[in-house]
Symmetry: C2
């Protein structure tokens, strides 16, 4: 007799060992697939699988009486069509992929992604889509997209944290996989779907506000320079200075991953300059916390001694219900961006011929208590 090498053979052996008492494979098989299926449901109802399937999926070709009978029986057994079978039959994955890259340097996961996904997830759920999440080392990003596409595991993907030069956009267009970018990529000429905040304008306004208050030495504590949002924010900052005839001091500009310790470290660097800035604009409320710590350490008071404006993604665990918020901020809900991205992606999947669309959100400039005119020397 032929020796059994197959996976199944091995497994059944193992199972048999563990579940002594079972006499055959069949009983184990049925123990694994415990739930009601379409076949048994239709048999119980004395109808064909077709009719039951149609009744459940809302097709008009089944009488109302039949539909009610089917729905009642389905509810009774808590029947839900098997996802795996349904996906194979329909040829759709009903799944959206989110690939979030984890920076190699600090193994950092951008904290805004949780709130972004919270927004998107709700939309997917409404439309019956699942969310496939994968955190990948940033050098593996494209490989991961390609693999998802090749094994057709998803119907679309969201691209997080685009860089100024973003390869993924062209690559995804080639793969013919619907996608939406959260953010934009300046050096990309192709058309693509995106949802972004008006970074340039909001940092222009923030800087402008500080200038109007009388500040002339304004620091910028920004994210990593390769990131598109960071580049745009720097541009807004520079433009404001330029339009007000203030020279840009390169030493006032720092770029780094947006962690609290980096906010602290960069603020210390600025504060220890021969002529330290009297105001700071920063890209993240997490960094703002680090800046506050630096001020504290240098015995300086936020607002009174140094003004700070931060970008505020309206993260749920920093949301400030106070009438006057702590930080003057350019605020834009990243959760709302998640919702909009999801909507856009679902629209694109439903209608592949659709022209790519860009959605530009305008951050509000919210006045808090961290900005005051500079202290007279």
């Amino acid at each position: 007799m032929r020796q059994k090498y197959t996976k199944y053979g091995l497994k059944s052996q193992k199972l048999g060992f563990l579940t002594a008492g079972r006499e055959n494979l069949l009983s184990i098989g049925s123990a694994l697939t415990n739930s009601t299926n379409l076949k048994s449901l239709s048999q119980e109802l004395g109808m064909s699988q077709t009719t039951v399937s149609r009744a459940l999926n809302g097709f008009p070709e089944v009488s109302e009486r039949t539909r009610q009978l089917v729905l009642k029986a389905a509810a009774k057994h808590n029947y839900k069509p098997n996802t795996r079978a349904r996906r194979l039959a329909t040829g759709k994955s009903m799944t959206i992929g989110h690939l979030v890259s984890v920076s190699k340097e600090h193994e950092m996961v951008n904290p805004i992604f949780a709130d972004f996904i919270a927004g998107a997830s709700a939309r997917y759920a409404q439309s019956g889509y699942d969310l496939l999440l994968s955190l990948v080392p940033d050098e593996d990003e494209f490989t991961s997209y390609k693999e998802l596409a090749a094994r057709s595991a998803v119907d679309g993907v969201v691209v997080h944290a685009p860089r100024v030069d973003e390869q993924r956009i062209a690559q995804l267009n080639n793969l013919n996989l619907p996608f939406v970018v959260h953010g934009r990529s300046s050096n990309t000429v192709e058309k693509y779907n995106w949802v972004d905040v008006n970074n340039e304008r909001s940092f222009f306004r923030a800087t402008q506000l500080l200038i109007e208050l009388g500040h002339r030495s304004i620091g910028l504590i920004n994210g990593v320079a390769e990131m598109d949002f960071a580049m745009r924010r720097t541009r807004g900052y520079r433009r404001a200075l330029k339009e007000n005839n203030i020279a840009v001091a390169e030493a006032y500009i720092t770029h780094s991953e947006m962690t609290e310790p980096n906010g602290y470290k960069n603020a210390i660097t600025l504060l220890d300059l021969p002529t330290p800035p009297t105001a700071i604009v920063t890209s993240s409320i997490i960094m703002a916390n680090g800046i506050r710590r630096a001020l504290d350490e240098r015995e300086l008071k936020l607002g009174r001694d140094v003004s700070v404006i931060t970008h505020d993604d309206d993260l749920s665990y920093f949301r400030d219900p106070a009438a006057v918020p702590v930080y003057t901020a350019t605020r834009s809900s990243v959760r709302e961006a998640g919702r909009l991205s999801a909507d856009l992606l679902l629209k694109t999947i439903a209608d592949p011929g659709r022209d790519p669309e860009g959605i530009l959100l305008d951050a509000e400039l919210i006045l808090g208590s961290s900005t005051k005119p500079p202290r007279p020397r």
Copy 2:
């Protein structure tokens, strides 16, 4: 002739309209399924689908020469078995579900979940599993698990943020769906898999340290009381006071969602008591930031005027590379917890007969600069 009501009928009409030029459905169909499949690959190789499948899946029943030929051809076409088909055929979903509940009150997503998932995700990827993420309003939690099980969309789930009284554990045991709890549930007698930090002991130690420094009035700014971790931390805190014959002042204990503004608010409450505490223990580094802000506002200095110990989940965007960290902290990497949870879940799925296991992590007590003896009055 019968009128076409079917979904497909409708859709093909729509597609036809949008893609003028295509003559028939077939061509559209093939445009959608663009990738190579097993059939075409085996035809090209002049082998049966069986042989190709076996060669790719590492079965020993295919000669080395054949395997190499197959692998080469597969690589050439970037062939990956279609996920949907494979899952139906094997009867496995190769997917782990993470249901993260979003609190109704603040729509808050616990910030630790991103790092936890980063840890788990890497493990899943290694074993060929996908991660299905769903953020659900906390009242829908169980419905969501039930639905995932009914449509057999996942092979196992992770339970986040268990409460002292946690219904989900018994429910999941009934569903016969493998699961791991991140944390524990005190009032649950059933056995289940869990990965948790020794919350009781670490808060005992933290409180003990403050007492040894000379503090007698110690506040506790904790998470929501229903959460199991919060209850255990309170217990450790109380035990330390008790063992040192210090009366517990209920006014020194606050419970709330762990946001920065709540940290601030609760700290202000404590600091404005007739006899304010000289030290505070808190459950989250985010709250610790709020506490620092409160100290700042009351013109108090962290460490010198009020000592603070925080629990530190070692979140990537707060990770402090400084030799002496800002906060004295009970530290335990939540990312490591994610890895361990994933390992445990995958083990359970591979071997369903396995006895449930609990993994207890011990938080380190890290000395930082936020703890000093109390200031003499």
